[in-house]
């Protein structure tokens, strides 16, 4: 497929067309090949500077972006909230403009506020890549999930994807919903009614509170982390009850189709949303997701970084 990429920023999957998503995936295919070579580095972004600006803590995503940038030969600087001037009261806009004044070409932003990457993208000439904004979007996670499904199942169209857990506060869920539905998948959201409001049905998905009815028909089960450190207690009565009602236990996993994929964006809580044996089982592609994340992020940095002036 040939198409021209003309976005300097990647803010979310909602704004992308199916063609654009497929183009990123195909670009990622090529970069995945690079990862199998003895020399894993290409000169695509040589001379460009990438700043990993993580206002909210992250290990996996930051490391993945950092490694992706290194493999593209970009220069990388990491800044976290605690080491930035945000703690001194500087506004996000001022911090970012200072970074741009240092001629940063690409800014990878993780932020607790929905819309923060768009806010910066509208104000900066640099590329802005959303590495997760509040409960809004986490587009590279959505892309790597889709990439992994497509790699294992050969397609996305007509697959039944079940996303389980804390949907309300999940940017991963939203990026998956936007991306998967554009590519023709059927998406079912499962979780307690407090964390999966019916309002989500207006996004073109099905909402269910009964995991046992949904699992036998699933082609993919994507389990989201139950973020109990952040949950206000009124959303569900306890972790034990959550596991009883919604956990992917060994027993429940037996009802899955043999070729159903088990996914998780990590970090996993073993024994809470997923039993340890299931996380490590044959149907689990959790570590493939991590590997594919690198290829997807290389593709995104390559495409957007090539547009930024």
């Amino acid at each position: 497929m040939s198409m021209n990429w003309n976005r300097k920023d990647l803010l979310g999957l909602r704004e992308l067309s199916a063609d654009e998503i497929n183009f990123i995936l195909e670009t990622a295919d090529a970069f995945k090949q690079v990862g199998t070579r003895e020399v894993k580095k290409v000169p695509a972004l040589r001379g460009k500077t990438l700043i990993n600006f993580f206002v909210e803590p992250s290990t996996r995503t930051r490391t993945s972006f950092e490694l992706a940038a290194h493999r593209l030969s970009a220069d990388v600087i990491n800044i976290s909230a605690t080491t930035s001037s945000l703690t001194k009261g500087e506004t996000l806009k001022d911090t970012a403009r200072n970074l741009e004044a240092l001629h940063a070409d690409i800014l990878v932003l993780r932020h607790s506020s929905a819309g923060a990457p768009q806010f910066l993208a509208e104000r900066l000439k640099s590329s802005v890549i959303n590495a997760g904004d509040g409960a809004h979007e986490h587009p590279t996670q959505g892309l790597l999930d889709i990439f992994t499904i497509r790699e294992k199942r050969g397609k996305i169209d007509n697959l039944h994807i079940v996303i389980v857990g804390d949907i309300l506060f999940s940017r991963v869920a939203r990026s998956n919903i936007f991306g998967l539905t554009k590519l023709g998948a059927r998406v079912t959201l499962v979780g307690p009614s407090t964390l999966v409001p019916r309002e989500f049905e207006k996004l073109g998905v099905t909402v269910s509170n009964q995991i046992d009815k949904v699992l036998p028909d699933a082609d993919v089960v994507n389990l989201l982390r139950i973020q109990h450190e952040r949950q206000r207690k009124e959303y569900f009565p306890g972790i034990g009850e959550y596991t009883t009602l919604f956990g992917l236990t060994k027993q429940r996993a037996k009802s899955l189709k043999p070729d159903c994929l088990v996914m998780h964006p990590g970090p996993i809580n073993r024994g809470v949303e997923i039993d340890s044996e299931v996380a490590d089982g044959l149907q689990s592609v959790i570590l493939d997701q991590v590997t594919n994340g690198l290829a997807v992020r290389m593709a995104v940095l390559y495409l957007c970084g090539g547009i930024a002036t």
Partner: protein, 428 residues
């Protein structure tokens, strides 16, 4: 001695059931009955040609944040009053969430002094219901009354303790002060920043459910009955609030509600680009809510129009959406938006009722000697061209702040001259 004749305007004076073309006479800052009462007729009579214009009692906005004392970088009493004049307002009622909060007679005295020195329109302060607007103990409501507040409110905040609110109502009744309330249940609203619904779900922004307003409107209705005292619900945004107020008023409960222009001109769809000029409290709601608000205006359930003029500096608004302060400026756009939307576009009310909602209704609520063209009252007059087409440009605002979502909007209808006590304080 000064005298003015406003000639050939359509004089709309709802308090006196007057709507006819004629001349209005002003002498020594007051409305007079006829030309013969203008002494010194020889040389000093100002003639204003009002042909094709509406001559209305000076408009009143009962919900304005003037930001002084404490936040002069957003607005001052002087600049806010200029913005009011440019919007057609001769009287504005300012909210007490200043720094310090207007919870003491000393602060009220300071505001009144400052207004006297610098403001070109009448500025009437409100006082806080609770000390420091903290919702914990009653402010000096009696002393605030003596200092000249026209009402009490904790606007921007809402007293969550129903017992405290009950005692505030009872006490205010004794003092003769109406109570205005910003209706927000803190538990239901949580950290919500936008209407809970489709767009909050899509964008992952914390939702502010309509029930968070409706629960407090219901509480207020119960307390108005219990205490036999008037409570006025500020900036009503939710369909359920309209229903509750409608039902209560039909039973004779002393409750009323006001509407801001953004809650009828915009829906929560506008937040999708995370532009903080669409962030206000209560938030923009869905079309179903907007339709209910329009019906509430049409049937008289919601009886007062106002702006909730909430200036913020550019650097304060230009931040992450959930971290930006709530509120938009409104004094210089509200009349245009309401005429355009309510009279021209949706045909919900006529211009006479619109003027009534900006004059007689607020004057009645706050017991003000304003809002009429009765002989002997201060000559506060607004000249309105209901058909003038104009474009909003925030750069031309008199306000110190620019935080408006209406920049570039084309509107039909606006004030063209504002007269306070017989003196023109602004004209187009």
């Amino acid at each position: 001695m000064s005298a003015t004749v406003i000639r050939n305007g359509r004089i709309i004076d709802p308090a006196n059931k007057r709507d006819r073309v004629g001349d209005l006479y002003i002498a020594d800052g007051k409305i007079v009955a006829s030309k013969s009462e203008i002494r010194n007729q020889k040389s000093e009579i100002d003639e204003i040609d009002a042909k094709g214009l509406i001559v209305a009692p000076g408009l009143i906005d009962i919900h304005v944040h003037l930001r002084e004392p404490g936040f002069g970088h957003k607005e001052t009493i002087e600049s806010g009053a200029r913005a009011a004049a440019a919007g057609g307002f001769t009287t504005i009622v300012c909210m007490p969430n200043t720094s310090p909060a207007a919870d003491s007679p000393a602060t009220i005295a300071w505001i009144k002094d400052r207004a006297k020195e610098t403001a070109c329109v009448n500025v009437l302060p409100t006082g806080a219901i609770s000390k420091n607007i903290a919702g914990e103990e009653l402010a000096l409501i009696g002393s605030l009354g003596q200092a000249g507040v026209v009402a009490i409110t904790d606007d921007g905040h809402c007293i969550q303790n129903h017992e405290l609110m009950r005692r505030a109502m009872e006490y205010a009744r004794m003092v003769g002060l109406p109570v205005l309330d910003h209706c927000q249940d803190y538990d239901l609203v949580g950290n919500g920043v936008v209407n809970e619904g489709y767009w909050s779900t899509l964008l992952g922004l914390p939702g502010w459910p309509a029930a968070g307003e409706e629960a407090i409107v219901m509480r207020n209705i119960l307390l108005a009955e219990l205490c036999d005292h008037h409570i006025h619900c500020q900036h009503v945004s939710a369909a359920g609030s309209v229903r509750l107020i409608r039902e209560a008023r039909a039973r004779g409960v002393k409750v009323s509600g006001e509407v801001c222009p953004h809650h009828i001109a915009l829906t929560d769809e506008a937040i999708q680009n995370f532009d903080t000029n669409y962030k206000m409290n209560p938030p923009l709601r869905s079309k179903a809510h907007v339709d209910s608000i329009l019906e509430g205006i049409a049937d008289g359930t919601l009886s007062i129009l106002c702006s909730d003029h909430a200036p913020h500096a550019g650097f304060e608004k230009e931040v992450e959406f959930d971290q930006a302060p709530f509120g938009i400026v409104g004094l210089e756009t509200e009349l245009g938006i309401f005429i355009d939307q309510l009279v021209h576009k949706h045909h919900k009310i006529d211009i006479v009722r619109l003027i009534e909602m900006y004059t007689v209704e607020p004057a009645k609520l706050l017991k003000l000697d304003a809002g009429t063209l009765s002989v002997g009252t201060p000559a506060d007059v607004t000249l309105i061209d209901p058909n003038l087409e104009w474009t909003v440009w925030v750069d031309q605002f008199q306000s110190s702040s620019r935080n408006s979502p209406f920049d570039g909007w084309k509107l039909k209808g606006r004030a063209v001259r504002t007269i306070v006590a017989g003196k023109t304080v602004w004209k187009l």
